[in-house]
């Protein structure tokens, strides 16, 4: 059955779908489930628009693909090389990280007197976590901003608010450890409805150096009084 539903030599080439069909192609299309299906898919690709529930996801994906392409430094390379650069960069970064990690483990394992001169707070510099401040948990009113603890070495932050199914609601970049929420996002934070938020810290090259976990918040549903 599967083989019987594949394209055959008589099927219409996909590239022909935007042209005028010949009488023979019309006749074939009338009885060929495969070509009818291909035409329906082609039509969906060329003509349809995102539905309301997929619009945010589509915008995120398009932005992500654009970002992957444009974030790579041009430096005279071809576009093809620029597309590939993040993958190579990642591999080199991973190899470098492994070497640094091995060296760090060796250094820490080296039997030596503890260094009491180092500031305990230095530890936070090695973290890959952005410590979020607010909003978190149940709130009395809709939050106006997102705040977190500044990450050393961060040149900017990318914050985003998401639905609980992780559909992107809003995102913004900030050079300070806070982001003011627009009215449209505040309006979404109706009592009882949970939203998520996250923030990434990036260095000057645009590399993510720390991420927050996913935070959840919602405006508490106020109990009705007997007189209401």
């Amino acid at each position: 059955m599967k083989d019987d539903l594949q394209r055959t030599a008589g099927c219409i080439p996909l590239e022909r779908f935007d042209g005028e069909f010949t009488p023979a192609e019309h006749a074939h299309l009338a009885v060929c489930a495969r070509c009818q299906t291909e035409q329906a898919l082609w039509h969906e690709f060329t003509e349809s628009v995102p539905s309301a529930d997929e619009g945010a996801a589509v915008q995120w994906i398009a932005a992500e693909v654009r970002r992957r392409r444009t974030d790579a430094p041009a430096s005279g390379k071809s576009v093809w090389d620029r597309w590939r650069l993040p993958i190579w960069s990642f591999r080199w970064a991973a190899a470098a990280a492994a070497i640094v990690l091995a060296a760090a483990i060796g250094y820490l394992a080296w039997d030596r007197e503890p260094d009491i001169s180092r500031n305990r707070e230095d530890a936070i510099y090695r973290t890959t976590r952005v410590e979020t401040l607010k909003p978190q948990g149940d709130l009395e009113e809709a939050p106006r901003e997102l705040t977190w603890v500044a990450v050393p070495g961060a040149a900017r932050y990318e914050a985003r608010v998401l639905e609980v199914d992780r559909t992107l609601v809003w995102s913004a970049a900030s050079t300070t450890p806070q982001a003011t929420l627009p009215a449209a996002v505040i309006a979404r934070s109706v009592p009882g409805r949970s939203l998520l938020w996250e923030v990434d810290a990036l260095d000057r090259s645009g590399t993510v150096i720390a991420r927050s976990g996913t935070q959840r918040f919602r405006v508490r549903v106020k109990a009705r009084t007997g007189r209401e």
């Binding site: 059955m1 599967k2 083989d3 019987d4 539903l5 594949q6 055959t8 030599a9 996909l14 590239e15 022909r16 779908f17 935007d18 042209g19 009338a30 009885v31 060929c32 489930a33 495969r34 009818q36 299906t37 291909e38 329906a40 898919l41 082609w42 969906e44 690709f45 060329t46 349809s48 628009v49 995102p50 539905s51 997929e54 996801a57 589509v58 915008q59 995120w60 994906i61 398009a62 992500e64 693909v65 654009r66 992957r68 392409r69 444009t70 041009a74 005279g76 071809s78 576009v79 093809w80 620029r82 597309w83 590939r84 992780r166």
Partner: protein
Amino acid sequence: MSLTGLTDEELVAEYRRVPAPHRDDVVDELFSRHYERVARWCYRFTGDREAAADLAQDVFLKAHRHLDSFRGGSRFTTWLYTIVRNESFNRHRRAAPGPDAEDVLADVPTPEPGPEQLADRDSRARWIAALLSETLEPVERQVFTLHYGDELPLEAITRLLGLDNQSGAKAFIVSAKRKLARARERLRAAGQMP
């Protein structure tokens, strides 16, 4: 010259014409017109944002690699569609086990397997095509073809075909199988089935 005023096809011609250092700008303009369209397809195909972004990136990589092969025999959008479609389906074929085809084989009539027919796959394919065409509604045919021919999951078919009924592609598969089972009984009664 402003690139924004050019059609997609004119941009590809411009891509061929300009020296290599200027080609990036042309590709940027050309691809920027299609990011959302490709993103939408990839999201519908995968149902997952990260997977869709990876798929879309591969599509644009391939489009760029083969941009010189575009000769204007179709609109650029249609040419891009062939890449999107093939990349998606190939990836799915490599990754996913398909639906259990044996179940549906029991319900789908097959022609009397005479010696000539056994030797002629096209003949059988035409017979099946005619049967599907006579028995099923257009959307049922499409869902049936994608599910059993390409082994796509019903959720992906629902999204790809933009089906907005409550149970999506599943409803069409159920009705298609029911109609094909009835057709089998009719053919059997007429002595055209084993």
